[in-house]
């Protein structure tokens, strides 16, 4: 497969996953803030912090009101991580490889983009937030379904999987971080009914509520961390994502899953192994935020090494 094509497939899938993840972030906050609003305790600033675009936000918007944050994360074309920008990028990438993906995949992305763009152009979005973010999440998931059902499960599809699972692992950990930031100013809430509500809201936004209940029953913070970070079988859990990404990486190179033949295989293999042999108690002991921070740095270096190993168009 052409390096450029592999690059574009990988990023198409990453951007779609990212758009979906941003919708999830906002949904967590919407859910949580509904429960907190009686206490007059809405927090929108931390959301910007978790996407890592603080500086840009405060330059353009100043105050972190609900409206500003939603605009910035959803429709702002200047924000490289807004839902709309992600979809513009996904669509541009997909357009450049239309002949390599299925017609259904392209059509779905094109429609997804038009839906978000039209919504952004329309007035009164703030009245309909839940439906809108629901629609974004659904479209993201439909893309996965369409891809799975219409694209040959060969090299291109594995690049798609690789991009999706790395992005999902990253954003899943950030969603947990949202919770951390929101709890930070009031540690006395830990274990209170408020706390329970918030963890439930978080699980719902991660589409993990029912599956979590089946696994653990009662909601307890440590179990939520366990489930979302370390579950082997839940498709949105970080460990599961790392495992799947690792499988696709080895399917691409054809090398033995137990070893490594290049830098991305080495880095991802190590990271996955650590997740497989750690526990929620360990993570919380180290501090959830610190753990996630370190994880993200290392995940970035996996991404970089994938770029240099497979996509680099340097003169040969």
């Amino acid at each position: 497969m052409l390096s450029r094509v592999a690059d574009s497939i990988y990023w198409t899938s990453r951007y779609i996953e990212r758009a979906e993840a941003v919708a999830r972030f906002i949904a967590v906050n919407l859910n949580i803030s509904m429960d907190l609003s009686t206490a007059g305790n809405q927090q929108w600033g931390p959301l910007v912090t978790t996407t890592g675009d603080n500086e840009m936000f405060s330059e353009t918007y100043g105050e972190a009101t609900k409206r500003n944050v939603i605009e910035f994360l959803t429709f702002d074309r200047k924000n490289p991580n807004s839902i709309l920008t992600c979809l513009i990028n996904a669509r541009e990438n997909a357009r450049s490889i239309r002949e390599r993906i299925s017609a259904e995949m392209w059509e779905h992305i094109n429609r997804f983009y038009l839906m978000v763009k039209d919504e952004g152009d329309a007035e009164g979005i703030l009245d309909d937030l839940h439906d809108f973010y629901d629609a974004v999440r659904n479209s993201g998931q439909q893309f996965v379904g369409v891809t799975d059902a219409t694209m040959t499960h060969g090299e291109g599809w594995h690049f798609c999987q690789l991009g999706r699972f790395l992005e999902r692992a990253d954003k899943m950990s950030r969603i947990l971080d949202v919770k951390y930031y929101i709890l930070l100013p009031s540690p006395q809430h830990v274990g209170s009914p408020f706390d329970d509500l918030q963890w439930a809201a978080l699980l719902r936004s991660a589409s993990a509520y029912e599956m979590y209940r089946q696994r653990f029953g009662r909601i307890a913070p440590q179990n939520v961390v366990d489930f979302l970070m370390l579950d082997k079988e839940f498709p949105r859990a970080v460990l599961h994502c790392l495992t799947r990404a690792n499988e696709s990486l080895h399917a691409i190179t054809g090398s033995d899953i137990e070893g490594f033949t290049n830098l991305p295989e080495q880095r991802l293999g190590q990271l996955r192994a650590e997740f497989a042999f750690t526990s929620a108690t360990d993570i919380i002991g180290r501090g959830l935020h610190e753990f996630i921070d370190d994880f993200q740095t290392r995940l970035n270096s996996v991404g970089e090494s994938i770029g240099t190993t497979f996509f680099s168009l340097q003169p040969v």
């Binding site: 497969m1 052409l2 390096s3 450029r4 094509v5 592999a6 513009i88 541009e92 357009r95 450049s96 490889i97 239309r98 002949e99 390599r100 392209w106 059509e107 094109n110 429609r111 038009l114 090299e155 691409i252 497979f310 996509f311 168009l313 003169p315 040969v316």
Partner: protein
């Protein structure tokens, strides 16, 4: 669609009856549905020099244009004859130049053509074919006669719209296709792939074919991508390719992989910075070397542009006579070449009735339409012609035929032309129909999509 008396032509009766039964609201609804479908499918072209949001659809009129079978077989015969002669001409120009030596075409006309490529002299493309894909523009005059308006032998665009328009028509008027004998166009991509495979060296069992595009910002990108997709071949950009030891390779995730045949949609000027324009970022350095060594086949061959210089066009009937000893089946539009003193005088004297075109522009740019232009514009073109006579041709304004088009809720006549597509491979294939382009502005004669023209499906019945 209608005969001069106003009644529907024989083969249009079924369609006419069908449309009569639709309310104007139905028509509009079907038209909107078809256009919405184009947006959803991303069947768009890019408008140069504008930012995001400048992807447009080519406005699509859902009334088909109908051409009768007998007339089509005559057109098709004429096109084949023309392509054979044009190909012989190109091959001759880059070898012995007999046609110049015999004085049929003045030598200086060829020498001064900006599309003449000295780099191609002596080249022998596989099977002696230079112009593999041609889009020839035809117009029908008031007398009902089809004329060739111009030949596009470099990177003619539009065939993807022919194929997509047909798909949309099937959705829009499913009943008509069951009842009417419309000749199918779906065969085009298989024909194209066969022709491309035919260019590969014989010892290669499964040739690696690729479509070379300048990339997603090119106005015809949709077409490049569509053709690659339909043929199931790789779509590449210059940066994907590299030349090693006069062989062309694609950069893949598993290293370099050889490429055998390229359908290039990049102009000569940009295809190889080592051979042509040094500043090109789009091309592949060294690809001409690989071509000369016979390690890569290029369609269309570099150098074919010499035959679609508009001054050379004026001599195509002479070429047909010279190479084939036949009369041209399809006539040219009468054409005056301005380098000739007598013809230039005639053009200048009658400029108000002439269409003046520069020899090397496409897309309808840089033209003068005499009857529609002001005195100042006439004067300006007289100066342009005098300053560079070689660069201009002129044609009398034809009373171009019109076709009915849906405007709001009723039908109006608009000027149309027709671009059939011809593939020259083992045999010569003419796509039955072609792209009918419509000048959407009332009275306008300019049909180019870059100038706001629209399109129609063309039915050969």
């Amino acid at each position: 669609m209608f005969s001069p008396g106003g009644s529907p032509r024989i083969n249009c009766q079924l369609l006419y009856k069908h449309i009569q039964e639709l309310t104007s609201n139905d028509l509009r609804k079907r038209k909107t549905a078809a256009e919405r479908s184009m947006i959803r499918l991303g069947i768009t072209f890019n408008v140069y020099g504008e930012q995001e949001g400048t992807e447009r659809i080519i406005p699509f009129d859902i009334l088909p244009r109908i051409i009768q079978g007998e007339q089509w077989s005559w057109i098709s015969k004429g096109l084949k004859q023309r392509i054979v002669a044009l190909n012989m001409f190109i091959d001759d120009i880059y070898h012995d130049q007999k046609i110049l030596k015999d004085g049929v075409i003045p030598e200086h006309v060829v020498r001064s053509a900006s599309s003449f490529r000295p780099q191609c002299v002596g080249l022998n493309p596989p099977h002696g074919i230079w112009c593999h894909i041609t889009g020839t523009d035809l117009v029908r005059d008031g007398d009902g006669q089809f004329y060739v308006l111009e030949d596009n032998l470099r990177c003619p665009s539009g065939v993807s719209y022919v194929l997509q328009n047909r798909q949309l028509m099937k959705q829009t008027f499913p009943g008509l296709f069951e009842a009417q004998f419309v000749r199918p166009v779906d065969d085009y991509c298989s024909q194209l792939l066969d022709a491309l495979n035919y260019l590969a060296p014989e010892h290669i069992e499964k040739p690696q074919v690729a479509v070379l595009s300048p990339g997603i910002y090119n106005s015809a990108y949709f077409e490049h991508s569509f053709l690659a997709q339909q043929m199931g071949v790789e779509l590449v950009e210059g940066r994907d390719l590299v030349v090693r030891d006069r062989r062309v390779y694609a950069r893949t995730t598993k290293g370099l992989r050889s490429v055998d045949v390229i359908y290039r949609r990049i102009d000569d000027d940009f295809i190889d910075p080592q051979a042509f324009r040094k500043d090109s970022m789009l091309g592949v350095p060294g690809i001409m070397d690989a071509y000369r060594a016979g390690n890569i086949a290029l369609a269309n061959a570099p150098g074919t542009g010499i035959a679609d210089d508009k001054v050379i066009y004026a001599y195509v009937p002479d070429m047909i006579k010279y190479y084939l000893s036949e009369d041209a089946i399809l006539p040219n539009v009468p054409t005056y070449v301005c380098w000739d003193d007598k013809q230039r005088d005639h053009v200048i004297k009658n400029i108000a009735d002439m269409v003046v075109k520069p020899a090397n522009e496409s897309g309808g740019y840089g033209m003068l339409i005499g009857p529609r232009a002001s005195k100042e514009e006439h004067a300006k073109f007289v100066e342009l012609i005098k300053a560079n006579p070689r660069n201009y041709i002129a044609q009398p304004t034809l009373s171009l035929s019109r076709a009915p088009v849906i405007i709001d809720d009723h039908l109006e006549g608009r000027h149309v032309d027709l671009r059939p597509f011809i593939i020259y491979g083992r045999d010569i294939y003419v796509l039955p129909g072609g792209l009918t382009r419509v000048a959407l502005r009332k009275g306008s004669l300019v049909v180019n999509s870059s100038q706001g023209g629209g399109s129609k499906d063309t039915w050969v019945v």
